[in-house]
């Protein structure tokens, strides 16, 4: 009896370990995460518009259909990245995601405080190499540190009414992201 109980206890303990390890391994094992879905649709280090979701097609689940979106799938191996995004009439936001879909930074047009959102994205190593005086003189230069070399920048602009969607998409089309060659 005691022996059987011991086996059951061992089973529960082992089950707990299996559970925790599968949860922790899931982001590495997932084949259909947002980044993987965007690989065939987006080039590296370029801002491209993403189709607004419809009932038949959606690149990702739970996308907000009131927003026009553009994605820059980045790779910082060749240098830091410069993002320029014009602010649309209603509401514009930029969210930075890691390769594993963790939103590590997000900013909206009001917080950015200008007609264009202008950001520099770099790895902590590249940030450390930025000359100090340059960092000071360009006080309004917004530098974001990416935790890894790869990830996603998602630009979202709201179309307050469906009829405004073409205009909002037009505003987003002017957004760019490009690698700055290492000096």
């Amino acid at each position: 009896m005691v022996r059987a109980l011991l086996w059951v206890l061992a089973a529960i303990l082992l089950g707990g370990i299996v559970h925790l390890s599968t949860v922790l391994a899931m982001p590495q094992a997932a084949k259909q995460d947002a980044y993987s879905r965007l690989v065939p649709l987006t080039p590296v280090n370029a801002m491209v518009p993403v189709t607004t979701p419809t009932a038949d097609t959606a690149i990702m689940p739970f996308m907000d259909p009131a927003f026009a979106q553009a994605v820059c799938r980045y790779d910082l191996t060749g240098g830091s990245l410069k993002l320029l995004a014009p602010v649309s009439q209603a509401y514009t936001s930029v969210t930075f995601y890691t390769r594993k879909s963790v939103a590590y930074y997000a900013i909206n047009d009001r917080a950015a405080g200008r007609r264009t959102i202008e950001l520099d994205l770099m790895t902590p190593e590249q940030h450390a190499e930025v000359p100090e005086e340059e960092d000071v003189t360009a006080a309004d230069r917004l530098i974001i540190e990416s935790p890894g070399t790869m990830g996603l920048i998602v630009l979202r602009a709201l179309a307050p009414e469906p009829g405004l969607m073409p205009m909002v998409r037009g505003a987003l089309a002017a957004a760019t992201c490009s690698i700055q060659p290492v000096q």
Binding site: A34, R37, A55, P61, F62, T95, Y97, V102, A103, N108
Partner: protein, 191 residues
């Protein structure tokens, strides 16, 4: 012999238990640090680097990109205020107050996060396009058949999910009470 039987039994139970628990938590969307107001639940930490391992795993599995904390916060509802499941063959009304936010949108999805096909191609409302009464209040009718006013079609599907997204809002990780964030009430009107 007994040892062999015992260890086989243990390993089997452990695998079933462990994988079962993982499947359960990931499909049900278990995550820590949730903020529940009425029928609405948000996970503000899922939009930041403080995201917990469960939310991380569930996002990797579903393929979605969570709303970033500096962008806004997304509230999910699967039932009305009384706990009745959202059935696309019934009608529900959403009315009341919304927390302070520059813009909000409300969207209807199926449980997998896809938009639902309908004749008027409407999947939600934004705070700008919603029809309000003279006092600025609004009511949305979620129903399978056309209704006057703000009609959000369900397409008659068995289960649906509503997502209320607040953009540029102070609501977030630090929000505790429902006073800070009054969310709209959801009431079932009939089936």
């Amino acid at each position: 012999m007994r040892l062999l039987f015992g260890s086989c039994f243990t390993l089997l139970i452990a695998a079933a238990l462990g994988l079962g628990a993982t499947w359960f938590t990931l499909t049900r969307g278990v995550a820590f640090g949730s903020l529940t107001i009425g029928a609405w639940t948000a996970w503000p930490k899922s939009g930041s680097v403080d995201i917990d391992p469960y939310a991380r795993a569930s996002i990797a599995r579903s393929g979605e990109l969570p709303t970033g904390t500096g962008d806004g916060v997304a509230f999910y509802a699967h039932t009305d205020d009384q706990g009745n499941n959202f059935d696309g063959r019934c009608s529900f009304t959403i009315s009341g107050m919304t927390p302070a936010a520059r813009y909000w949108t409300v969207t209807l999805y199926d449980p997998e996060g896809r938009l639902v096909a309908n004749t008027i191609d409407r999947h939600g409302f934004t705070s700008e396009e919603i029809v309000r009464d003279s006092e600025g209040r609004f009511a949305i009718t979620v129903a399978p058949l056309a209704r006057p006013g703000n009609w959000l079609p369900t397409g008659g599907i068995e289960k649906f999910v509503l997502v209320w997204r607040l953009y540029d809002t102070p609501i977030g990780v630090a929000t505790r009470t429902t006073k800070e964030g009054p969310m709209p009430a959801i009431v079932r009107k009939g089936c």
